[in-house]
Amino acid sequence: METNVAAGANPPLAKSARRIPPEFNIFLVLVGIALVYEVLGWIFVGQSFLMNSQRLTIMILQVAVIGIIAVGVTQVIITGGIDLSSGSVVGVTAMIAASVAQASTWPRALYPSLTDLPAIVPIGLGLGIGLLAGFINGQLIARTRIPPFIATLGMMVSARGLSKWYTKGQPVSGLTDQFNFIGTGIWPVVIFLVVALIFHIALRYTRYGKFTYAIGANVQAARVSGINVEAHLVKVYAIAGMLAGLAGVVTAARAQTAQAGMGVMYELDAIAATVIGGTSLTGGVGRITGTVIGTVILGVMTSGFTFLRVDAYYQEVVKGLIIIAAVVVDVYRQKGRKKV
């Protein structure tokens, strides 16, 4: 092929062939898992797993919050980084947002003068706190060059501490109906899907997205190509923090109360959903559509275990194994590519 293209021959480039998107494989995995549960359901429980809209609704509601976080985490992982702080950011934003979302009818309001505020105030504050946490993560990583793992680990510990210190461990309850509304019904799922759509578009069609992939693919080359890598990383981490903040607000609204322990381990579920969805931990590869499917897989797994009445502790063991399997598959995919 190298030799037969003579000088002068200059054929136009072929239109790029439409390929099967990588998400298709992940989608097949989802279908496979669902079918396995369906069959096991008929054998062991005597009923259908899929033909139960109530179960499916609960399932998707359970993972919507994880999904919102995972959309941010996906972007961080595409740059080659990691964010361990999201679960703790959920906790601290839930607490602070709830504290300004209390109704005047509640006898023990934290700020009696700040009750019955319109829902936009606690929601905006929650997003702002998340953004700030992410901004600090980004600044630490970009300016001091400490590894993302360490920077966000520090944020994870500090933010959790902050959420406990804020009320000395007391829960914040008595939230306004207006605030609680965003956690009711199918709203968390709608929020998740809207967020996913926005960042799907951002990653695929904007300069922000192109730079995000370029940094993950080769940070040196990205820098030489004129990308202000530091500034861009700050943006990505800030967005991830803001989405964790949104997840915190939704969590508090859903529970109609906020507790300092909210969101524990959510960061790991979000990372798991991202990786199951095909995002590579080495950076440069990943899509929001994959992450959405990964999130649903996580939900189906948990819901299916409960459906089959598998012991809760044992569920965690299996979940861990599935996450490892997803990463192993990723490693082999990378290796297979190198051989080409």
Binding site: L13, K15, A17, Y205, A214, A217, A221, A222, V285, V340
Partner: protein, 512 residues
């Protein structure tokens, strides 16, 4: 495969011919994808001599040295060690056979002591199986006494100067009772006094019968320390001589003595006004007082040996590692270029030396690779990429540059080196630069692609782009440049006009 102990036994019997040669390499060939690094190379190292390997960049010295040190295995030919065939499979294997190599970038562990570094893997143990530090320090002190090195065995390596680390490396090599010591540019980071000390040690080792393979770019060192030298050129062995029999000019002639057979598509184009003017550019410890001008339509060749600071100057110009002092002016206007973003804004472009490390976004496709630089300030509206228009431009560029690929959604990883390079050049041409810096634009790519890139550079010059081209390939520099700036050890040693430039003149300025 014969074990080292058997070899020792056979050797002791005195039955082996040619055993006066510590190392004898015969007819060695080594190929890498697309390049023949060594072709039918022979080399003999006598006991108790210092044997220098000479040649331009890419002549094959380093490959030969890596074969001797067990890092590469030759495709063909044999390596005899004290008269016996050996096949080295790893650096450790070489070390156990008595061949030690001291790399240019030293391989010591900074947070361990000098003694621990020297005896690693061979630490003396106490009866309980713990490391016997006292004995280890004593052994180190004895070793240092023998080599006349004044260092504390218990000092941590990170606290030592480069010169002292070099001494530790040498002591470590000697501690293996090595018969052969390979040194790659050992003086590149040393001061004059330190060099003198190193040479004293080398002379000592020579007296003890050790054979030393010495790689250097510095002519005067050759005459000071080497007994013999072998010259390589383009992967071929040229000859071996005693250093007392030849002059500096003889050696330069041997190193460059090739006919320029390739034709370069160089065109004489009208040269315009000064576009880039650099004055006293300095990056402390790397390059100093670099001043030059490049005009529109001019190709300025930048020659010099590896480590002369050529690439560092390019990186400073483009803001990758900004200079610490000096000034840059574009079209007469002083500019401060503190980052590549700033450089691109000033319509500069920089094709880096290392395609893999600083060029390609390997896991992304060709389109994504080509469009990344131009996205800095074009084809974006309200943050959204105007993909249709941009893709069309990229495709047109790829067609113009003859990037051989079915379509641009192919991963750049799957292209040949030459086509990757063309795609990367396309990345920069899309930004319509007026100053183009090319660092080794044709390294490691096949002849056809090379010619196409040369043609392209000529066309760009014709269009009025000011080109700075760094190259280690003498024919390329001579064939393409209007003017050549030569650097040596971080300083500009001279400018040559196209008419007066010759391989010998460049080499004289490059190797002082």
């Amino acid at each position: 495969m014969v074990s080292p102990t058997t070899i020792a036994a056979v050797r002791a019997s005195g039955a082996i011919p040619n055993a006066e040669y510590l190392l004898a390499v015969e007819g060695v060939r080594k190929e890498f994808p697309g390049v023949v690094a060594l072709d039918d190379v022979s080399f003999r190292l006598k006991r108790g001599t210092v044997h220098a390997l000479m040649g331009e960049n890419g002549a094959g010295k380093s490959t030969l040295m890596k074969i001797l040190a067990g890092i590469y295995t030759p495709d063909k030919g044999e390596v005899k060690f004290k008269g016996v065939d050996i096949q080295l499979t790893s650096p450790l294997d070489a070390l156990e056979n008595g061949i030690a190599m001291i790399h240019q970038e030293l391989n010591l562990m900074p947070f361990m002591t000098v003694a621990e570094n020297i005896w690693i893997r061979r630490e003396p143990k106490t009866r309980l199986g713990f490391v016997d530090h006292r004995e280890m320090n004593r052994m180190t002190a004895a070793l240092f006494a023998r080599l006349n090195i004044a260092l504390d065995p218990q000092a941590e390596v990170r606290d030592l100067s480069i010169a002292n680390r070099q001494m530790v490396e040498i002591a470590k090599a000697v501690s293996y009772e090595s018969d052969v010591l390979i040194m790659d540019e050992p003086t590149s980071a040393l001061t004059e006094r330190e060099v003198a000390h190193l040479f004293t040690i080398i002379r000592d080792l020579r007296r003890q019968g050790i054979g030393i393979v010495y790689i250097t770019h510095k002519m005067n060192e050759l005459f000071e320390i080497a007994d013999e030298f072998s010259v390589f050129r383009d992967g071929k062995y040229i000859g071996t001589h005693a250093s007392s029999d030849v002059t500096r000019d003889d050696i330069i002639r041997m190193m460059v003595g090739r006919e320029i057979t390739q034709m370069f598509p160089k065109e004489e184009v009208p040269i315009g006004d000064v576009v880039l003017s650099v004055k006293d550019l300095t990056l402390a410890g790397v390059f100093h007082d670099v001043s030059f001008e490049v005009r529109a339509g001019e190709i300025l060749g930048l020659a010099g040996l590896v480590g002369s600071g050529r690439s560092n100057v390019a990186e400073a110009l483009f803001g990758v590692t900004p200079a610490s002092s000096g000034s840059i002016a574009i079209n007469g206007q002083p500019v401060a270029i503190t980052s590549p973003t700033e450089a691109i804004r000033n319509r500069m472009a920089f094709l880096t030396e290392d395609r893999k490390d600083t060029g390609c976004l390997l896991i992304l496709n060709i389109l994504e690779n080509m469009q990344i630089a131009v996205l800095q300030d074009k084809f974006v509206r309200l943050g959204f990429v105007e993909q249709k228009a941009l893709s069309a431009q990229c495709e047109e560029m790829a067609r113009k540059l003859r990037v051989k690929t079915p379509n641009l959604s192919e991963r750049i990883e799957n292209l040949s080196g030459g086509n990757q390079q063309k795609a990367l050049i396309g990345r920069w041409l899309l930004t319509r630069p007026r100053i183009l810096i090319l660092d080794e634009p044709t390294r490691g790519i096949d002849v056809g692609a090379k010619a196409e890139i040369h043609r392209l550079v000529t066309e760009l010059a014709r269009d009025g782009v000011a080109v700075i081209m760094i190259s280690s390939e003498m024919p390329e520099v001579l064939g393409m440049s209007d003017r050549i700036m030569v650097m040596h050890e971080g300083r500009v040693t001279g400018f040559l006009d196209r008419a007066e430039a010759s391989q010998i003149k460049v080499m004289e300025l490059a190797a002082r």
